[in-house]
Symmetry: C2
């Protein structure tokens, strides 16, 4: 493609709307334009990148045996009412755009397709002999984000590959899950990205296993914890670890001490001269369930550790049935004011221990009449520890679990793992931290949707049982921008060769010089003949402008037909390294062909 | 692909929802499933067809020099308000789905992209040196149709290629328009379709030229008129012709005759014994303009001819300014009741002449105080004709235009051309009629949108002038179904080779016969090696079921490894003709490769 014939517009200044490098660069280099908040036009260069990413996704999905299809973007409300998600998606969370057609029927714009595919499966799958089967699509999706930002990273209209597999049993699901794990790894490798597959929380969507694929980049919204041996990596929400050992307690006997103004761990440590690992701190949460009842939760955790809200949420979801509810709706730290609302007498905030008596609770119809007491595993083994005295301005020291202070019945891991913790699989390995952009997510869904929507099949024994499902998503437009976030420098984008819009750009410094133009045109034609994707910058612009633009748009190889043209030679510059060599036309072609063939 | 591993489900019975063969067959053969009214899932076989059509469209568009991009489906209301189409599209016609986001901003789901592309052009195009430029996309579009029907032919969610070109002047637009005419012709030819490019009306959208590309099929909703010499073809709405000559009038002098109950041409002819070509009939319309005023229109046309509502609409649109309006909103035949509402005295319905006095009109604020009188060209040359006497139960005969009966000032072609008329370009050619499905439409838009949205560029003289635009659309999902409507028989679909989901299907009559399976597998592998797309029907089904399914899904070539297998031979059946030959494996491969290479 000749640049003179392309609608090629670059910007010199950084656009105000962009907060991170990749977003700025895609705007400046003429890849995207914003039409509305979180809604972008993909200009011709961007569209080429998206098609290349899609082609890699498609080839790997096809290789895995999945079948490509295309499902509707308009989805009838009834399907989402059947699965029980309509209200959550259009109102509570409000992330699905909803609309009404001329016949006053409600429709949603698909943010995901579990409902549609499960309906199809119900129609098409009758027998175990049709299983397993895996359908996928590459499609524009919609989410009415609260805060669209970072360009294509959090948009309201974006391109995704989503796939759904159906199985006779969990073993078959796990096989496909592993195939998808490998497929996603290959997709990201082929796109030239540095990434980590990390264990992810699957609490909200259900199911037994889930991994996220994180493209590593400083601007990433997610934190990843991993070990250097490559054996462990998890999203911080899911990560487990062995915390540092507690310092042995200096307290010989239990006593209650006056600790005025010691409502934080720091203040307490300063006053008593103890170590944070010797303290059992108690954090108060307020949990609301879907049957309208709510409870106050006392979480005990070691003084040097923090509660992981996602882990806690999963624990409370598991407890919902105990309180006659089917799910947890809402969980938040209870501040003094909120907690006091539910208390029969003033709560000793800052001085609460794990054994705060239930008599503190008000007797109201929808309040669970006992504290929901949870101990993190870090506190169970502590001895002669420090904790609140359930009395303002006082702490107890030298406390042991037992009659004086009962250990909660529920001892679980609700701790936030952090960099520096030891790994569970090998205590010689320590967790390290990295930032990532979530590009892919794979889930073992189980029968959540098939049960709700009665998508069953007849098994070998002739029984009608629900289909077992998996789902697998990868963000195509997000991946493209993440590649820029991972691969750029001060001068612009540095596309990985596999997803670059063009592989080579030929820059003619002076188009009025017939020798230069002739050599450039010759090279342009020859490169096209051998199947290399090439841009020819034949614009009537200064050489400096052309070099700057070539760097900005990030084409992997730049060929310059400058002073060396007279000798029939060209300069070949590698965008990533700046490495420059002077070659004859045939050498340049051979070199470039070799690079492209390696893809 | 092995059929046993595909989600392959065919239906024996005709689904109730389908009215035409192509819709029935796509459902029965497992190509599509309905999710909501006018909204379909494209199952894997269908998706392959759509990808093939898209690939042909893409390759021809790229060859034409157009640049592919992707524009948003979510479109801000403001853009449509700027162009003046928001109210018409979301309310008056209501064909655009509208929705409100969480910030209470209004958005539309794109049925077309003139507004978005013009906004982009305004941002990106500054100088004549960037022109011409042509951007296109292949994308799912939305229309809230009043009556979705015929499967993919009139859906609410469908796939289109739409392109928009920008020019410095009309000459450049016309060049690109011609290139698109040729491009569309090549696309349809390559897809294996019989089609006609016809002159089309461009009145509503404006601009000076427009052609539709019609795939010929009996179930087509459009009527096409054409001449056998290939020199002329037009949509019936646009078609012009030379009607049969009028029979000379027998009436020597003007007189008024009593003609009781002769309110139709048939009754009048029967009573007077005259010929319909000797009659000037007057049809009454009611026109409403956008400034709220309305008028009664008297259209005079020869008794044997009909008024073409689209031509009349264009004439009245041209007259809008005369009445202080900017456009015609509404035009319909005025029945006795409607017309009477605007009349000061009872109208002589059935006996109205072209000279009905304006005194018949009521004097109300928003009614134009004169009849809008239009004469079709067929009546201007008539002599001593028959027409209404403007008096119940009476007609005049032997009337000449002049003092007695004034010829309307506006003499234009508002006649509906019909089969049997002579062609304008050559009176020895007669118009013939055919039914077609509109698959493509190309328009010379001119400056309609660029003016409304201030999309200007600086010309060579340094002046800022509006961009000249063209737009070009082709229905991808519609084309796929039209192909079925044109190519099927009682047994199922007969895909043209270029867009078939697979080119060959190997049917193994008995999968328990190792000779058959071995030969089939060998052929399957070898065909794949040479790049032929092949299905292997290795299902545990009776041979009869497999043959029926192969015919139903319409794969162009069926290879059967039956009784001839022992000799290492296969039977090759051409789906379209049923022609069967027995060949060795290598002969079969060579033959099939030859067919595919011809694409």
């Amino acid at each position: 493609m000749r640049l003179s014939q392309m609608l090629f517009v670059t910007l010199r200044d950084n656009p105000a709307e962009a907060e991170i490098p990749s977003h700025r660069l895609l705007l400046r280099a003429g890849y995207i334009r914003r039409i509305a908040s979180g809604v972008y036009s993909y200009l011709p260069l961007m569209w080429r990148v998206l098609q290349k990413v899609s082609a890699i996704v498609r080839s790997e999905m096809d290789r895995s045996g999945a079948l490509e299809c295309l499902l509707p973007q308009l989805q009838p409300a009834e399907l989402w009412q059947e699965s029980g998600r309509w209200d959550t998606y259009t109102q509570a969370e409000g992330i699905m755009f909803a609309l009404t057609d001329r016949a006053e029927r409600q429709l949603g714009l698909g943010p995901t397709h579990e409902e549609v595919i499960t309906t199809l499966a119900k129609d098409l799958i009758r027998s175990y002999r049709q299983l397993p089967v895996h359908l996928y699509q590459i499609q524009t999706k919609f989410r009415d984000e609260i805060r669209p930002r970072f360009g294509l990273l959090r948009g309201r209209e974006f391109i995704m590959k989503d796939g759904y597999s159906f199985h006779a049993d969990v073993a078959s699901l796990q096989d496909t899950y592993q195939v998808m794990y490998d497929t996603y790894s290959r997709i990201l490798s082929r796109c030239g990205l540095t990434f980590r597959a990390v264990e992810a929380d699957s609490g909200a969507i259900g199911g037994s296993g889930s991994h996220e694929f994180m493209v590593l980049a400083d601007a990433g919204e997610d934190e990843v914890l991993y070990t250097a041996d490559g054996e462990y990596a998890a999203n911080v929400e899911k990560a487990v670890s062995v915390p540092p050992a507690a310092v042995p307690s200096p307290y010989r006997k239990m006593e209650t001490l006056s600790t005025p103004n010691a409502t934080t761990i720091e203040a307490l440590v300063a006053q008593l001269g103890c170590d944070p690992t010797q303290i059992v701190k108690t954090v108060l949460y307020r949990a609301g369930f879907d049957n309208g009842c709510c409870g106050l939760v006392l979480v005990s955790i070691r003084g040097d550790q923090e509660v992981n809200a996602v882990k806690l949420q999963n624990v409370l979801t598991g407890l919902a049935a105990n309180y006659g509810a089917s799910k947890l709706l809402d969980l938040r730290v209870a501040d003094a004011e909120t907690a006091q609302e539910w208390a029969a007498q003033p709560l000793p905030f800052g001085y609460i221990g794990p054994d705060l008596p239930d008599t503190y609770l008000k007797t109201t119809a929808n309040l669970i009449p006992q504290f929901i007491r949870i101990a993190d595993t870090t506190v169970a083994e502590l001895k002669r520890f420090v904790t609140g005295a359930n009395k303002a301005e006082h702490h107890r020291v030298g406390v042991n679990w037992g009659n004086t202070c009962a250990l909660p019945a529920l001892v679980v891991d609700v701790r936030k793992a952090q960099a520096g913790d030891r790994a569970c699989h090998d205590p010689t390995q320590y967790l390290e931290t990295a930032r990532g952009i979530e590009i892919g997510h794979i889930f073992q869904l189980g029968t959540k949707y098939s049960q709700a929507m009665q998508a069953t099949y007849t098994n070998e024994q002739g029984e009608e049982v629900p289909l077992v499902m998996g789902c697998y998503g990868i963000g195509v437009s997000r991946l493209a921008q993440a590649a820029v976030e991972q691969h750029h420098d001060a001068n612009g984008i540095i596309w990985p060769l596999a997803i670059a819009p063009y592989q080579v750009i030929i820059v003619v410094p002076n188009i009025t010089d017939p020798t230069q133009m002739h050599l450039a045109t010759e090279l342009y034609t020859k490169l096209q003949t051998v199947g290399i994707e090439v841009l020819l910058d034949d614009r009537d612009e200064r050489a400096g402008v052309k070099f700057k633009d070539a760097d900005l748009i990030g084409i992997p190889y730049r060929v310059v037909t400058g002073r060396t043209s007279a000798k029939g030679e060209v300069e070949l510059v590698e965008r990533a390294t700046g490495k420059t060599v002077t070659l004859s036309v045939s050498e340049a072609i051979a070199y470039l062909q070799q690079q492209v063939d390696q893809l």
